[in-house]
């Protein structure tokens, strides 16, 4: 869920996390059940359920639907994201740093939906400067152009210059120089102009 939504929840906060979880499940279920309207009152219990008109049965995908799904994935990787198995309790899951933040903006940045995130297009090691001791390509507050080199990601001894895909101001660098980064990992937050 986006930080936006998270905030709004925090404001209306009369609900405990378990309640929210339940509600989410209920809503998920209503959605899956293709329900258009749902009312409920408690004082002496009233229920009203109205199903949405069905365009076609969901569930099992055929070939054409699959193509559709592929497009969905491409557009929005998380769209069809499965329920994640809950954490194992038995053994510690020491996931490496890159895995932990995989492809998702970290809390601080994402608060501001207007920021643009420059992500790593490859797996490798992040460097802020062209060579050790040289000054960084960019620093916080710099104005950068579309196509301007922001950093290097080294992969297989090759130094890959990573260019900005937006023009604007560097608001934050999200990784440390020398840190391994994975595909899609956020590198910089940029305020577009």
């Amino acid at each position: 869920m986006t930080e936006n939504k998270r905030d709004r929840q925090a404001k209306t906060r009369v609900m405990k996390p378990e309640d929210i979880q339940e509600l989410k499940e209920l809503i998920e279920f209503l959605k899956e059940s293709n329900i258009g309207e749902f009312d409920l009152e408690r004082g002496d219990l009233k229920v009203r359920i109205k199903f949405a008109p069905k365009p076609g049965e969901a569930g099992v995908l055929d070939l054409t639907q699959m193509a559709q799904m592929a497009r969905l994935f491409a557009a929005q990787p998380q769209a069809l994201a499965p329920t994640v198995l809950p954490e194992v309790h038995a053994t510690a899951q020491a996931h490496s740093a890159p895995a932990a933040t995989a492809g998702q903006p970290t809390a601080g940045e994402a608060e501001d939906a207007s920021l643009h995130i420059v992500k790593s297009p490859i797996v490798g090691t992040f460097y802020e400067s062209p060579s050790p001791g040289a000054s960084a390509y960019v620093k916080i507050g710099d104005q950068v152009e579309n196509g301007q080199t922001l950093c290097i990601v080294e992969a297989m001894k090759l130094m890959n210059e990573i260019e900005s895909d937006v023009a604007g101001e560097i608001v934050k660098r999200l990784v440390q120089s020398g840190q391994p980064v994975e595909y899609g990992q956020p590198l910089f937050a940029v305020r577009p102009r």
């Binding site: 569930g59 099992v60 995908l61 055929d62 070939l63 699959m66 799904m69 592929a70 994935f73 491409a74 990787p77 069809l80 994201a81 499965p82 329920t83 994640v84 198995l85 194992v88 899951q93 020491a94 996931h95 490496s96 890159p98 895995a99 995989a102 492809g103 490859i122 797996v123 490798g124 090691t125 992969a155 297989m156 090759l158 391994p180 980064v181 994975e182 595909y183 899609g184 990992q185």
Partner: protein, 451 residues
């Protein structure tokens, strides 16, 4: 032993390798595409690195991405699983250049076995029986007759210049040879402007039988017996068994000895599978060699008691085969594997989507290898295998009975699977007898249709 291994694969085989590593105290690094973020191989590895977008070409098949991941995670070795990069000699070479141990044979051996004709010749040279074929073009019906007699009927004539069945004739006796030879010649000439023909031994009812081998890095090779893989649909294996009812202990011993000699000769290393066709008389002919762990390796594990993936890791670490495997490995009981694919059980259309219910069978003599779970998603980008159901019994009867009850208890909802197809095959009389060949599925579908 290795400290840390990267698994360059996904799905059940990635999880299989992770399990072996965990049991050996080796740290594991999973790599994954964006579509597999919630996969169990990601979940259960010690570390996980996203290497690209969903398409395999940009993630699992992306050599620089995999090598980069291996470098940033600082692993000692890469296990390639099956498919994907597992038989890519170039990848193995890049691993070597990057000072990362590739868990498999050396690149040159992979390359040799990858070129079918070279592999055939290498094996022929090492006295492994290969499917007889004429050395080049057959010039006349007289030469054809001579050659046919030397290998025995039936034989098949094929056009040197083309395919698609044109110029192709199966010849079952000397009497019909001349007429068929000339017909084939004319047809090839008309179709391709070239009437050249060559000949091969023809097997009417071939079985697909393969031998599992292990080879250490000190020149020792051992055969672990065979698997019967004749139940195929369009060359895709559906059901595998070990042992084969058609392979006598004597034949197993014999082939084992021949393979040992020939593979020691070519300098084979790590796990591999040698595929054969078996003719109606029980004679085996080499087809090709797969230089990796195989999907169906669990049936061999069940009947030999040897953990093949652990053996791979230990071999790659330099251990001698003699410390990994007893010299003589008896075959114990009978094991069968069903490949559970996310496919429609009759139309075979792929069936991606979210799994809404997933109940795997358990109990005595049942093994399930899967990376799926309730609420998991089968993405549309990769192959359709979602689980392997393997049963073991004292004999084929018990293994089959177990499979029937296990199939009945395997519940997958939300997507289509081949479970109902397997359930039907295990009720089929021909299947039950164990006397079938690679054309079994065609006959099976005919029988199903006529019901």
């Amino acid at each position: 032993m290795f400290h840390k291994v990267l698994i360059a694969n996904r799905g059940e085989i990635a999880l299989r390798v992770i399990c072996a590593c965990k049991e050996m105290g080796i740290r594991t690094v999973a790599v994954y595409s964006e579509a597999d973020r919630h996969s169990l191989h990601v979940r259960f590895a010690d570390e996980a690195i996203c290497i690209g977008p969903p398409r395999s070409a940009e993630s699992y098949l992306n050599v620089p991405a995999v090598i980069s991941a291996a470098e940033i995670a600082d692993v000692d070795a890469i296990h390639p699983g099956y498919g994907l990069l597992s038989e890519n000699a170039n990848f193995a070479e890049v691993c070597r250049a990057s000072n990362i141990k590739f868990i498999g044979p050396p690149p040159d051996v992979t390359r040799l076995m990858g070129e079918k004709e070279k592999a055939r010749q290498a094996m022929k040279h090492a006295k492994v029986p290969i499917l007889p074929g004429s050395d080049g073009v057959i010039q006349s019906d007289g030469e054809a007759l001579e050659w046919a007699r030397s290998v025995g009927f039936p034989v098949i004539l094929k056009a040197s210049a083309g395919g698609g069945g044109r110029g192709m004739r199966v010849i079952r006796s000397a009497e019909e040879l001349p007429a068929l030879f000339h017909a084939a010649h004319t047809e090839a000439m008309n179709a391709f402007g070239n009437g050249d023909l060559y000949m091969e031994k023809f097997i009417e009812q071939p079985r697909h039988i393969e031998f599992q081998v292990l080879a250490d890095e000190h020149g020792t090779v051992l055969s672990l017996g065979e698997r019967e893989c004749s139940i195929q649909r369009r060359h895709q294996k559906l059901i595998e068994e070990a042992p084969s009812l058609q392979v006598t202990p004597k034949l197993r011993e014999e082939i084992g000895r021949t393979l040992k000699k020939s593979l020691e000769h070519v300098g084979y290393q790590n796990a591999g599978t040698v595929e054969f066709l078996m003719d109606e008389d029980g004679k085996l002919y080499f087809i090709e060699m797969n230089t990796r762990i195989q999907v169906e390796h669990p049936v061999t594990e069940f009947v030999t008691g040897i953990d093949l993936v652990k053996a791979q890791l230990r071999i790659a670490c330099g251990e001698k085969l003699s410390s990994i495997v007893p010299e003589h490995v008896p075959i114990k009981g009978h094991a069968i594997e069903c490949r559970i694919n996310a496919e429609h059980p009759e139309k075979f259309t792929p069936s991606a989507g979210k799994i809404t219910a997933f109940n795997v069978p358990g109990g005595n003599g049942v093994r399930v290898d899967t990376a799926q779970y309730s609420e998991g998603v089968v993405p549309p980008y990769y192959d359709s295998l979602i689980a392997k159901l393997i049963t073991h019994g004292h004999d084929r009867e018990e293994a089959m009975a177990r499979m029937r009850r296990a199939l009945g208890m395997f519940v997958v909802q939300g997507i289509h699977t081949t479970i109902p197809l397997h359930a039907k095959i295990f009720e089929d009389e021909e299947f039950k007898t164990g006397k079938f060949d690679t054309k079994f599925m065609e006959r099976f579908f005919e029988r199903q249709k006529s019901q």
